[in-house]
């Protein structure tokens, strides 16, 4: 299948521009925005034509990446201006497992517990009530038994995954992050 240079450049440019603006772009939005161009190139099979154009872009541009969320929606972003980490958070923003996922990632990778306040700020942007609602649903539910919390001496809640952190370490690190760091400047 042949694609015009112009079409490929337009799609790639859109993905890069959206990443530059701090957004990942869903497959559907790309398709809608480019519908007219695609019809001009091939008025038949336009969806499969579009898919193949995206495959070609992914193959030829190392910076263009695709992420598929749990609900099946595919997103595109450019690693020239957006990290995999950030794109992955945006792609999961509406997943009800996002908080648990982030807690597990932090517990495994760094390793450390995370404060609830993390989820109040960009790019999460949840209200405190939304966070507490999610936690309420999570605690004790199947699939989330590893997500635990500890409260520091300042009364701030930190979350961690017992798959990767033991309780003593989580308590110590939460206290350090919440109070120790500022007291040892």
């Amino acid at each position: 299948m042949n694609f015009s240079e112009n079409l490929l450049a337009t799609i790639t440019g859109m993905i890069r521009e959206s990443s530059e603006a701090g957004l990942i772009i869903p497959h559907e939005d790309l398709f809608e925005a480019l519908g007219q161009d695609i019809i001009l190139e091939s008025d038949c099979y336009k969806i499969s034509f579009f898919e193949k154009a995206l495959d070609k872009i992914l193959e030829e541009n190392a910076d263009i990446n695709k992420l598929t969320a749990k609900n099946g929606v595919s997103y595109y972003y450019s690693s020239l201006s957006m990290s995999d980490t950030y794109a992955s958070i945006l792609a999961r923003k509406h997943d009800d497992t996002l908080i648990a996922d982030i807690v597990r990632e932090n517990s495994q990778l760094y390793p450390r517990p995370v404060p609830l306040s993390l989820f109040e700020h960009s790019p999460f942007g949840f209200t405190r009530e939304q966070i507490l609602d999610q936690l309420k649903r999570m605690f004790g539910s199947d699939g989330f038994q590893d997500i635990l919390q500890t409260t520091t001496s300042s009364g701030n809640i930190f979350l961690y995954s017992s798959r990767f952190l033991d309780h003593a370490y989580a308590i110590k690190m939460a206290e350090w992050i919440d109070i120790g760091e500022a007291n040892n400047p």
Partner: protein
């Protein structure tokens, strides 16, 4: 002698007893000691006899800067002030304080690498240094005034570009817990009273000169930009504290800029935004230490960052809090960083609206306003920890007597009212009563005055007290055995950031471990915080490297609160920085090419001279048991967990013995005494030290 760049080549010598001012060639005497603390230690070794007390006229106070001060090298604003330390207990020993600001650069532009001051003026004076000339001027009209008015008056006389380093009433009154301050908020703790003992109120410097860069200008510019590209936020934290679109990692760091976080008190509110590390013009937005220490509420009071000459980090934050003007009668603008910013707040156990509420911020504003005008030092927060402990334990009430105790409004104190600070802090500066006199002496002398054994403080981890009158400064709580070793080596709090700036940089442990392989030879050099493994030789190498890098920075005049730069925010470099950026800048600036290893040897010479001064003045070579000590609390975990278990910061006694053995071995020192051997002095070009110790019986091996 070669025509070097970097140094301006002259050292100013001022004898306040007779008013003699002379100039000597910096490089003839001090080139092997680079500058800064290197010059300070050398002057004290050569000129201050053992047994001298800090306030004796023969004691020297050395304001030293290095070959990178006043150049375009990033983070070069540090002035090292070396003298016999008045709060070092039970005996004063050599130490140094460090101030940022513009003084270091201005001193170079005025034509000097260092100022050596001794003697005692017969009346209050200030030292005016203007374009290669110095003059002692009458300061009787300034004596009794605060630092702000003193700085303004001297600036009025010298011109608004002058940099003024002044003491307040605390220094004048020989309060050991006193500072010298330049550029509004940049203080060096502990030395104010030494200036006061010499009747020296201030030093004003102004110059129209420049610092010559010996190397090729394009290469220099390239090197500076390369160094800038490696910078993180304050303390070389290299990842942001929240997920950002460009960032692979995030963590609890001082890189707090983020879209939507705004300098709310700027004339036009400024969004700190997404600070991609490749955009060197946004480095100054990354850090807001008011927000880091005081919480989200501080953003709305932030005017902007402020900092030292040639440093884009801006670790001081300017705050505008209008309410404090009407409530407390102090300026609505204040600025500082870290313990300076927290000075007032840390006296209180709690506030009516919580630890990060409005009252807490007001207490910070009141504390900064008073302490930075009166010139009071807090010994890395130890003064406030001592105060709280003494009050809440009842010791204070018992020691000061009921009349004095009742003169303070303790209700106000317990309620967290910043009003309480006025009487207390003014009292400290004026030695007004028993409480304030004792607090102003520093912890060691204070405990002795009130008959409290030092060991009582050394058993309490929450007091953070280490030894010799001073607290821990990044020890076992965050760096295990490496932190312990570093904290044993100095005569005040260690002030070493080489290790902690790496450990707390925000990168995942596995990334840090890969960098550790390059620098110290093994992933085993570091552990996850509070999940420590037993001692190994790589931790000893890290401790040695950390200390030597601190001494190198303090001597070159680049900031060890910011460096070293062995990690970077650059993913394309696997987050590696560069261990030789100091030698690159030094070589180009001076035209005296030196490898990283050669500069390390210079810094080892400087550190070992500090060790020799300590041995000479303590009159013992038994450093291991008499000096390199640690408090008992390092062997306890607050949750009762044993050493080497997850979540425990407890050290093991036998393991710490091994740690000291390994460190001494790395340094080439005698294992039994912890003293450098004669051959170590000789290898470092310190034959004169070896000869002195040979004569007076302090030589080892």
């Amino acid at each position: 002698m070669a025509n070097y760049g970097g140094w301006v080549g002259k050292t100013l010598r001022v004898d306040l007893s007779n008013g003699n001012i002379s100039i000597e060639n910096t490089l003839e005497r001090y080139k092997d000691y680079l500058g800064g603390t290197g010059i300070g230690y050398k002057v004290l070794w050569d000129e201050v006899p053992a047994g001298t007390q800090p306030f004796d006229p023969v004691n020297r106070i050395v304001f030293g800067v290095g070959p990178l001060a006043g150049t375009g090298a990033p983070c070069n604003g540090r002035t090292a002030i070396t003298t016999l330390w008045p709060t070092c207990w039970p005996k004063s020993l050599v130490a140094s304080g460090h101030m940022g600001g513009n003084f270091a650069a201005e001193l170079k532009y005025a034509g000097f690498d260092a100022i050596i001051i001794y003697g005692k003026a017969d009346q209050p004076v200030w030292l005016c240094i203007l374009d290669g000339k110095a003059e002692i001027r009458d300061a009787r009209n300034l004596w009794g005034e605060g630092i702000r008015r003193t700085s303004m008056e001297i600036s009025r006389q010298m011109g608004p570009r002058a940099s003024v380093a002044a003491i307040g009433q605390a220094g004048e009154n020989l309060v050991p817990m006193s500072v010298v301050i330049n550029s509004h908020s940049h203080s060096a703790g502990g030395v104010g009273s030494v200036m006061g003992s010499k009747n020296l109120k201030a030093i004003g410097v102004l110059g129209t000169g420049s610092v010559r860069i010996a190397g090729n200008k394009e290469e220099w510019e390239k090197a500076v930009n390369y160094h800038l590209s490696l910078l993180g936020a304050n303390n070389q934290h290299v990842v942001p504290d929240s997920p950002q679109k460009w960032s692979e990692y995030y963590g609890p760091t001082r890189w707090v800029a983020s879209p939507g976080r705004r300098w709310g008190a700027a004339s036009s509110s400024i969004d700190t935004g997404s600070c991609d590390p490749h955009n060197l013009n946004r480095i100054a937005y990354r850090t807001n230490n008011a927000a880091f220490f005081l919480g989200e509420r501080a953003w709305k009071y932030t005017v902007r960052g402020n900092g030292c000459s040639s440093c884009p980090i801006r670790c001081h934050t300017i705050l505008k809090v209008p309410s404090v003007s009407s409530k407390y009668g102090i300026p609505e603008i204040g600025q500082n960083t870290c313990v300076g910013m927290l000075f007032g707040r840390n006296f209180f156990r709690s506030f009516p609206d919580g630890p990060k509420g409005e009252t807490s911020i007001e207490a910070c504003m009141v504390g900064m306003s008073l302490a930075d005008d009166l010139g009071i030092w807090d010994n890395y927060g130890q003064m406030q920890r001592d105060f709280q402990e003494l009050y809440y334990s009842g010791i204070l009430k018992e020691k000061v007597g009921s009349k004095e105790f009742k003169s303070y409004s303790w209700d106000e104190y317990e309620k967290g009212s910043p009003n309480f600070l006025f009487k207390l802090l003014r009292g400290i500066a004026l030695k007004r009563d028993e409480l304030t006199t004792a607090l102003g002496m520093g912890t060691g002398y204070h405990l002795e005055r009130w008959g409290i054994p030092e060991k009582d403080w050394q058993e309490r981890p929450e007091l953070s007290y280490w030894k010799m009158g001073h607290p821990r400064h990044h020890s076992s709580e965050e760096a295990g055995q490496t932190g312990v070793i570093i904290n044993t080596q100095y005569n005040r709090d260690s002030q070493c950031h080489s290790h902690t700036n790496f450990i707390r940089n925000g990168l995942p442990l596995h990334v840090q471990k890969q960098i550790a392989v390059d620098i110290w030879g093994s992933t085993d050099a570091i552990d996850a915080m509070s999940a420590y493994s037993p001692m190994n030789v790589y931790k000893a190498k890290m401790a040695k490297w950390s200390i030597l890098r601190k001494e190198l920075h303090d001597s070159l005049s680049i900031c060890n609160w910011m460096g070293p730069w062995i990690a970077s925010p650059l993913k394309e470099h696997n987050y590696k920085g560069d261990d030789s950026v100091e030698s690159l800048l030094y070589s180009l600036a001076t035209g005296n090419p030196k490898s990283r290893e050669e500069l390390d040897k210079d810094s080892e010479r400087i550190f070992v001279l500090h060790r020799a001064l300590t041995i000479r003045d303590m009159q013992t070579s038994d450093m291991r048991t008499k000096h390199d000590t640690f408090p008992k609390w390092i062997f306890k975990d607050q949750a009762g967990k044993p050493p080497f278990s997850s979540g425990s910061s407890a050290m093991d006694p036998d393991d710490i013995k091994l740690a000291m053995d390994m460190f001494y071995s790395e340094m080439g020192w005698d294992l039994e005494t912890g003293a450098p051997r004669t051959e170590t002095y000789q290898k470092l070009g310190l034959q004169d030290v070896a000869d002195v110790f040979d004569r007076n019986g302090l030589a080892v091996g």
